[in-house]
Symmetry: C2
Subunit: 336 residues, 2 copies
């Protein structure tokens, strides 16, 4: 492996001078700059970032802990985060987490050589948080979900989101509502289910307990929930899915069963992933009016935290009010 010493030797200068050229310092004769650059090119030298980072105590890397990008929501946010990071001179180390606290993973992230940590899929009682708090000097930020005792989060008003989509179904005339969500230790699922129940309650719509499904967000468990919902004599006429990703899986299930959407069954969700707008999907959902995604906002905030070290910024909490986006997956229930 060629080092700056080799370059120095070839260029006939000291290693320190090579370093100066590399870092574009002023006060350095143009002719030596050229000598060094020629040597760099000739030896095909690339600085060892490990060594640099060690002395600079800065790596320009950030760690992202996200749910599997199988869920388009996480794919979109990951894409945005990596892009913003690149634009600002950071690289991102991607970690996928499971549904439950994963201490192995967290330890890895905690000692990863990164300047900050951004997380989307943590639980309200996640064990990483106390550690993170005690880790002075390594800023972190959360988006989508939040921790029960955490600050620095960017979320939508999940209760409101649940109310909006539920209200839409009820306004359409649906009385047989089902709900499919995820683990309630996630603040998103917790809030959305609360919104669903609250709105149903407010409108005096009784919801059967066994029509409220809590999955682990895997395809299998969502399909299982669908099977249970449509195995009895009575079916729901409308499904409120906690996320667009869940809705997409339900949709696949229902279409394969021969149901017509929305004639037979209405389906609506929350997240407004890009694909929901596709002409062959047209999912009614709940989204934000933001031009930036939550992930992008969080990433920009994280970079501010890293670079400004502005202690005032250290406890930003952002909750965005969502709104309903009506498309073609919801309609009036069939008259009996």
């Amino acid at each position: 492996m060629v080092s700056s010493h080799d370059v120095a030797r070839l260029a006939g200068v000291s290693q320190a001078t090579v370093s100066r050229v590399l870092n574009g310092s002023k006060n350095i004769r143009q002719s030596t700059v050229e000598k060094v650059e020629r040597a760099i090119k000739e030896l095909n030298y690339h600085p060892n970032l490990n060594a640099r980072n060690l002395v600079k105590k800065k790596t320009n890397m950030i760690a992202l802990i996200t749910g599997h990008t199988h869920d388009p929501f996480y794919e979109e946010s990951t894409r945005g985060i990596v892009s913003i990071a690149a634009k600002k001179g950071y690289n991102v180390l991607v970690f996928f987490n499971k549904i439950d606290n994963d201490n192995m993973l967290y330890n890895q992230v905690l000692s990863a050589p990164v300047d900050g940590i951004i997380m989307s899929s943590i639980l309200m009682n996640d064990s990483i948080f106390p550690v993170l708090e005690s880790l002075e000097g390594k800023p972190y930020v959360t988006f989508n979900r939040k921790h029960s005792c955490g600050t620095n989060y960017f979320e939508i008003d999940n209760v409101k989101a649940g109310e909006l989509i539920t209200n839409h179904m009820i306004e359409l005339g649906h009385k047989n509502l089902a709900y499919i969500g995820g683990p309630l230790q996630a603040s998103t699922f917790h809030g959305r289910l609360e919104g669903f129940k609250k709105e149903a309650n407010r409108q005096k719509i009784a919801v059967r307990d066994d029509w409220i499904k809590t999955t682990d967000t895997t395809i299998e468990s969502i399909v299982q929930a669908c099977k249970e919902l449509f195995s009895g004599i009575e079916f729901p006429t409308a499904i409120v899915a906690a996320t667009d990703a869940i809705a997409l899986i339900c949709l696949d299930f229902l279409l394969n069963k021969g149901f017509k959407i929305p004639e037979d069954i209405s389906i609506g969700a929350i997240d407004n992933i890009e694909f929901s707008a596709h002409a062959s999907i047209q999912l009614t959902t709940v989204g934000t009016h933001l031009s930036q995604s939550l992930g992008n906002l969080a990433m920009e905030h994280l970079i501010n935290l890293i670079e400004n070290k502005n202690k005032q910024l250290n406890s930003v909490t952002t909750t965005i009010t969502p709104h309903l986006i009506v498309r073609r997956s919801t309609g009036n229930p069939r008259i009996k």
Copy 2:
């Protein structure tokens, strides 16, 4: 930032001993292990990986250069690669590249502190390759696309894939074929277009020059291609898209224009991304019989290269024979 020295001081041992405990070395008294571990916990110590990597000359990180995960193909491969990496103890640094050679990016990747490099979206004449070859000791691997002078690639037989989907259209009775692809400096697009032309030729089907569209794979340019295709008096009855991602965008365009698929227009593609099997898409496409994706195979190969340093493995070239997957986006042309 707490270092192993701090731990040593608190535990009343030397820093070297802390290091030994950390690395689980034998020949160390159980009682001191406990002392050290207690100190580690108390100080909330996490080893500095930069320092460790510097001396070990190993980072357990790999760099992935991929197209934007906006294209589900890249999302799926990225997901697989990150998962395999994690399983094998590696983390992945994700870089998105543009359609053209991006020297800034490449320089970044080249000096990134990684043990190896995996790339999916390079061009046949990409400038990174000569450098990569000269970079002894940093293995690399390519999947999906390959470099004109590169080895270590995993691809499908793109010409064959182009032939298969084109043949399918012709067998259905289509005579007015259009093709929408991407930059021909990408081996995938190059081969797939070649296959398209070859098969049309073999079957004596004349294809209009202006019905062969080369986009830059952005949504805008694909939509533009669609507009051009469907603005004249004569329309194609079948579209061969070079990738499922392109087909999805065409599909959106066509459905929004009020076309029925496949009654008015058939559409088929290559890649067999997961979403193509969704009940609301049902895209006819070309895929492999592999249980693993190309990206996964490539990643496993890369880890072998890194860990075994087996020089024999150093020039693996894999070309998988693809097969047709008929779904509901293709059918017979309307009889005039």
